[in-house]
């Protein structure tokens, strides 16, 4: 059988190496190589999707080779209903980022494209690693290309942003490293599935949970360790922001699903109040903060944090529902809502950062006050921007609605107030999204920069249309996405309500 997951990891990475080999002097060739590699990766997703059996929660497409035998480390890959949607999302964005940077990046094109391809491979690696150390290696290695992307092609304050980004995430993952080493020493294995079965005392679980939380909370990011994200977004080039928002944040959510919940279920149950509280703070508090942003990218960054609050909320209400009703009916809606929210937010935030990129490429400003009346000169752009911002505010018929709807409906079973506070996003999300529309898109032409704007070209239209189809398609028919994960969600829930304490 074809080692599909390895191909999904290594085709983009080797494509990145080939792109680097094209050198600085042949930017056109570098672009075509990278586009080809990204497209091949996307095509490789077809057998992944069609070959995936969604009736079982077992790991599929498994690959297993010894790597560092002295420490029982294996090159162990496999996917289930949680990883496949995220891998598909990653591969979906590969070609889009290449096309989006096609004409915009003038400097060191080959390195830029290579960084993204390598990052893509590493992210697929994160989503498919079943060995704890392998996961950690991918998890950390992924930072390097992103560090370079922000540090080289970023804005004026990029050094501060990169260091903040790197230290924040690195500090978090060091705690995770301690946690997983402890798990290895206890279990005598690096296999994540072995860790799932490992009995642990409450004290052990709490420490491991907090160690993992340090890594994933920074990544997703949760309040109060979120402040690196707006800075990183503001300084990152468009492609960097897209990947950061669309995929990297999801690794935090994925971490909770793959590690925290199944490895330390009792600690998760005991500390769920903390997770829920932080999620609700993210949704409400950050919603207000997003409202007053002056910089478009910062606004979308804060909006991302707020939307990620739904992911953590959806994941951690399961325990309260179980305590209330003695069953998990409703909890599955929350977990699947969290997954849907991750995929959907990938589309929407990616699209929004691309929209800001379109404006930035023309006017070289991200300030809201530098615009006004863009719809007069860029009607097609206005169409897409309004569509994505509406999706961002959770309009039914777009993907943004589905996840929020599921999580709010599920959280009502946990506690009325969870649903009520989370539901405030209906108002807050609309407020900051529509106020942005009012100030940037609508109105009379504000200045000569806006008057001189040209509407989107074919390349930009291609990217935005693709994303629009994804956003609307998933809003109108989320069935396939949701269907993929039922078995895995059922198994996860059955696992987490089972105490590991004795």
């Amino acid at each position: 059988m074809m080692p599909l997951l390895s191909l999904l990891i290594w085709v983009p990475i080797l494509g990145g190496v080939a792109t680097l080999a094209a050198g600085d002097s042949r930017p056109t060739m570098a672009k075509w190589i990278s586009l080809l590699a990204a497209l091949v990766t996307l095509v490789l997703c077809i057998p992944l999707y069609t070959g995936f059996d969604n009736t079982t929660a077992a790991m599929q497409f498994e690959e297993m080779r010894p790597w560092i035998s002295a420490f029982d480390v294996n090159y162990h890959l496999g996917v289930d209903g949680f990883s496949v949607p995220l891998i598909l999302l990653t591969a979906f964005f590969g070609p889009l980022v290449v096309i989006a940077g096609w004409e915009v990046i003038k400097d060191k094109v080959h390195q830029y494209m290579a960084a993204f391809l390598i990052m893509e491979g590493l992210m697929v690696g994160v989503f498919s690693a079943l060995d704890g150390l392998l996961f950690y290696v991918f998890f950390e290695a992924m930072l390097i290309p992103m560090f370079l992307v922000i540090g080289i092609w970023g804005g004026p304050n990029r050094v501060y942003a990169t260091i903040k980004f790197f230290l924040y995430t690195f500090l978090g993952s060091v705690f995770m490293l301690v946690g997983i080493i402890y798990l290895y020493l206890n279990a005598g294995s690096w296999a994540i599935t072995d860790w799932h079965a490992l009995p642990l005392t409450m004290v052990e679980q709490k420490w491991i949970f907090l160690g993992l939380l340090a890594a994933f909370a920074v990544k997703i990011p949760m309040w109060p360790v979120h402040t690196w994200l707006p800075d990183a977004h503001v300084e990152a080039p468009t492609g960097g922001s897209v990947i950061l928002a669309a995929i990297m944040l999801k690794i935090g959510g994925y971490g909770f699903i793959r590690f925290s919940l199944p490895i330390t279920p009792d600690a998760a149950a005991a500390l769920d109040w903390l997770m829920i509280a932080l999620s609700l703070v993210a949704i409400v508090y950050i919603g207000f903060v997003a409202l007053v942003q002056q910089d478009m990218k910062k606004l979308i960054a804060y909006s991302s944090i707020s939307h990620m609050g739904f992911v953590t909320l959806g994941l951690f209400i399961a325990f309260a529902i179980y305590r209330n009703s003695g069953g998990t009916q409703g909890a599955g809606l929350g977990v699947e809502g969290a997954m849907v929210q991750m995929v959907s937010h990938g589309f929407i935030s990616g699209a929004l950062f691309l929209c800001v990129g379109v404006l930035y490429d023309r006017v070289h400003s991200r300030e809201i006050s530098a615009y006004g009346g863009v719809a007069n000169t860029m009607p097609w752009f206005a169409f897409f921007a309004v569509l994505f911002l509406m999706a961002n505010s959770g309009l039914p018929g777009t993907s943004g609605f589905v996840g929020e709807f599921m999580v709010i409906l599920a959280s009502f079973r946990a506690n009325f107030w969870f649903a009520a506070l989370a539901g405030l996003t209906l108002i807050l999300g609309a407020a900051y999204s529509l106020w942005l529309v009012k100030r940037v898109i609508f109105g009379a032409v504000a200045n000569k920069d806006v008057a001189a704007l040209r509407d989107i070209n074919g390349r930009e239209a291609l990217v935005l249309t693709t994303l629009a189809i994804a956003v609307v398609g998933m809003g109108v028919w989320p069935f396939p996405v949701v269907d993929m994960m039922h078995a895995s969600v059922d198994q996860l829930l059955a696992h987490v309500i089972q105490s590991k304490l004795n």
């Binding site: 409202l291 309009l395 009502f412 079973r413 609508f442």
Partner: protein, 666 residues
């Protein structure tokens, strides 16, 4: 054609039209855009009437089926599906007919607008969304339609997106609606938790079993679960159907072009809340408390919003406040369990209010987009069709016997009289007094616009496209073109006769009984029906009732004040400055919302951002720890002098210290 194909085509035709005229706007051109959209909505309208015909004469049963499965989670199926009963088909016909009239009218009204195709695309899209809403067979799709009509309303209020007032109004409309939707969504969440399904039929069947359940919301206070659900759902209706205090967006929505004021903000979208509550009657019937709440909110809106209409000078805003007031009447009817009366008034109102709005639009065309009635007057001789149809619409609105509004409004007043629900007494007085108010502002509008002296002058030779000062016109007002007047006439006909024709089947003949459930003992409509001896008899009897005389009194006062003795209005205004400014400021709702909610939210956001995020987390925790590391490093750096003797000296001290410790500890 298969009935399911027909039902699928009804919403999909306008969606197709919207896509063609919107996405291919340059390819199809102006004529292409209006042809494709008008044909789409005309097809949709014909098919709707065909469905109604099948139900009336061919015995078509209620259809309830799934079109496709949206998603399945934990065995709960979320579907997109249609429930087509008599209520649905009635709504389909009203929506598509008014929409068709408005489409045709738009050819004339938007004739010179550069956004012509975009406008047609939006109103087609609106028709699609509204049809999805009324045809839904589950809460999820209802919510989809609910928000989708909100979206199109947003786009259309801000259609002239260069106008600051328009883009303020559309954002306000969307946000206020979202406040309602917040409640609505919580209601839907409670429905799913209680019944484990969002399908209407399943929920309604199981509803009586949930009657005794309670939910603890605030600190152990137990609410009836169904009361909670109904109140939450009704909060959604308050947003969409503009009931106080969530009514504030509707007057501002008049910033949009007049055709959409007629279609969306009078005839169809704003009645979605009324429709929804009627649809949910099996739930609402189980909660007297929720129904009392509905009734009182409606009564407040019906009377107090009508009062504001008396002091407005903008012709469209008068009609807008009238709409608020009439929506209040419908809400009152819902609150006394007279769901069929609410739907009946919804239908008659759709015709005559669309007529009045389109009439106002016709006047606005003639006046070159002057909307202030203080600069009109005497227009009847210039535009006879508009004038006569406006009179017909007004007579329907004020409830003159035999006109459509008479039957529906009188029925509501009578059922409130018969109701024994908590609060019905005060509600009765408010809706009766509302009749007087309605007559006042309605006839005031007619007099100021069509009668009396001309308060504008024609400036010969002025540039017709220039923006002239108030009260000046470049040329004489003239009657609007046929595309405008024909819809007026076609709407005037039902405004006159629809009540007389349909009161018997809709109210007393049980036409809606397959859709609406009324608990025994609550059925005031049936009680009223015992005294019903035909539409003609009802109209003749109507002359002897209090509302009729109050209406005449309103007419008399309006005639005196605004036709013959204009001084009275000014003196009254000067005598009662407090009352006047209260009404002129619309009870200060806007000021309050702006100060407390809008500014409050921004200030809170600023505080959280600058103080908590940037100040505390970043300033103290993140950069603070970075600085701390820096400072410690600076201190430690002092030891690293680079001189050999310093290091040698430290080594010796260290050695002595270690030896000392070793000696002591040993």
């Amino acid at each position: 054609m298969d009935i399911k194909t027909i039902l699928l085509l009804v919403p999909l035709l306008p969606l197709f039209g919207a896509a063609v005229s919107g996405l291919l706007r340059n390819q199809v051109g102006r004529a292409g855009a209006h042809w494709v959209t008008i044909l789409a909505v005309a097809g949709s309208c014909l098919l709707s009437f065909w469905v109604l015909y099948l139900q009336m004469y061919e015995g078509l049963e209620t259809l309830n089926y799934s079109v496709y499965t949206w998603m399945v989670v934990e065995g709960v199926t979320f579907e997109v599906g249609f429930l087509v009963d008599h209520l649905t088909s009635l709504m389909m016909c009203v929506v598509t007919f008014v929409s068709l009239m408005v489409h045709i009218y738009t050819i004339g009204y938007m004739h010179d607008d550069p956004g012509y195709q975009r406008f047609f695309s939006y109103i087609n899209l609106f028709t699609f969304a509204m049809l999805m809403l009324v045809m839904a067979n589950n809460f999820m799709q209802l919510f989809f339609g609910w928000e989708a009509v909100g979206l199109v309303s947003y786009l259309l209020i801000g259609f002239w997106f260069k106008k600051d007032t328009a883009i303020f109004a559309n954002m306000k409309a969307f946000l206020v609606n979202r406040v309602g939707d917040f409640g609505f969504l919580l209601g839907i969440a409670a429905v799913l938790m209680t019944f484990g399904s969002l399908d209407y039929a399943t929920v309604f069947t199981a509803a009586p079993d949930a009657a005794g359940e309670t939910i603890s919301v605030i600190g152990g206070m137990e609410w009836g679960l169904l009361t909670f659900i109904c109140v939450c759902l009704f909060i959604g209706a308050m947003g969409k159907s503009a009931q106080a205090p969530l009514h504030v967006w509707l007057p501002d929505s008049m910033e949009g072009p007049t055709p959409i004021s007629a279609l969306i903000h009078a005839a169809t979208m704003v009645t979605a809340g009324i429709f929804m509550v009627a649809r949910m009657s099996p739930l609402f019937e189980l909660s007297d408390a929720a129904l009392s709440f509905v009734m009182l909110i409606g009564a407040f809106t019906a009377f107090f919003m009508g009062l504001i209409g008396i002091v407005q000078n903008d012709i469209k805003r008068v009609v807008a406040y009238s709409t608020l007031s009439q929506l209040g009447y419908m809400t009152v009817a819902l609150g006394v369990s007279a769901y069929s009366a609410a739907i009946f008034h919804l239908m008659t109102h759709a015709f005559f209010k669309a007529l009045l709005f389109l009439g106002a639009g016709s006047v606005i065309i003639a006046m070159h987009h002057q909307q202030d009635m203080r600069y009109m007057g005497g227009l009847r001789k210039y535009m006879p069709v508009t004038w006569i149809t406006a009179w017909l619409g007004t007579l329907a609105l004020v409830g003159f016997p035999f006109f459509a509004g008479f039957y529906s409004k009188d029925a509501i007043i009578e059922v409130v009289h018969l109701s024994e629900r908590f609060g019905a007494g005060v509600t009765y007085w408010l809706v009766v007094a509302g009749v007087f108010v309605t007559a006042m502002y309605s006839f005031r509008l007619l007099y100021l616009t069509f009668h009396g002296k001309e308060k504008f002058e024609v400036v010969e030779g002025a540039d017709p496209h220039a923006h002239l000062p108030d009260g000046q016109l470049a040329h004489k007002p003239h009657e609007s073109p046929l595309v405008v007047t024909i819809p007026l006439i076609l709407l005037a006909i039902p405004s006159v006769v629809i009540g007389w024709l349909t009161i018997e089947p809709v109210l007393f003949g049980g036409w809606l009984s397959d859709a609406i459930y009324v608990a025994e003992g609550n059925d005031v409509v049936a009680a009223l029906g015992e005294h019903f001896h035909g539409a003609t008899a009802m109209a003749i009897h109507g002359v002897q009732t209090v509302p009729f005389w109050l209406m005449l009194a309103g007419f008399a006062v309006a005639t005196l004040v605004w036709r013959f003795r204009p001084g009275i209005a000014a003196t009254t205004k000067a005598r009662l400055p407090g009352l006047y400014s209260l009404l002129d400021h619309k009870y200060y709702f806007d000021e309050f919302n702006q100060k407390v909610f809008a500014n409050g939210a921004v200030r809170l956001g600023q505080g959280l951002w600058k103080k908590a995020d940037a100040g505390f987390i970043d300033g103290i925790l993140v950069n603070g720890s970075a600085k701390l590391v820096g400072r410690v490093a600076a201190l430690v750096r002092r030891w690293q002098t680079g001189f050999l003797y310093d290091y040698a000296f430290s080594m010796i001290i260290g050695l002595i210290a270690i030896l000392g410790v070793w000696v002591v500890l040993r």
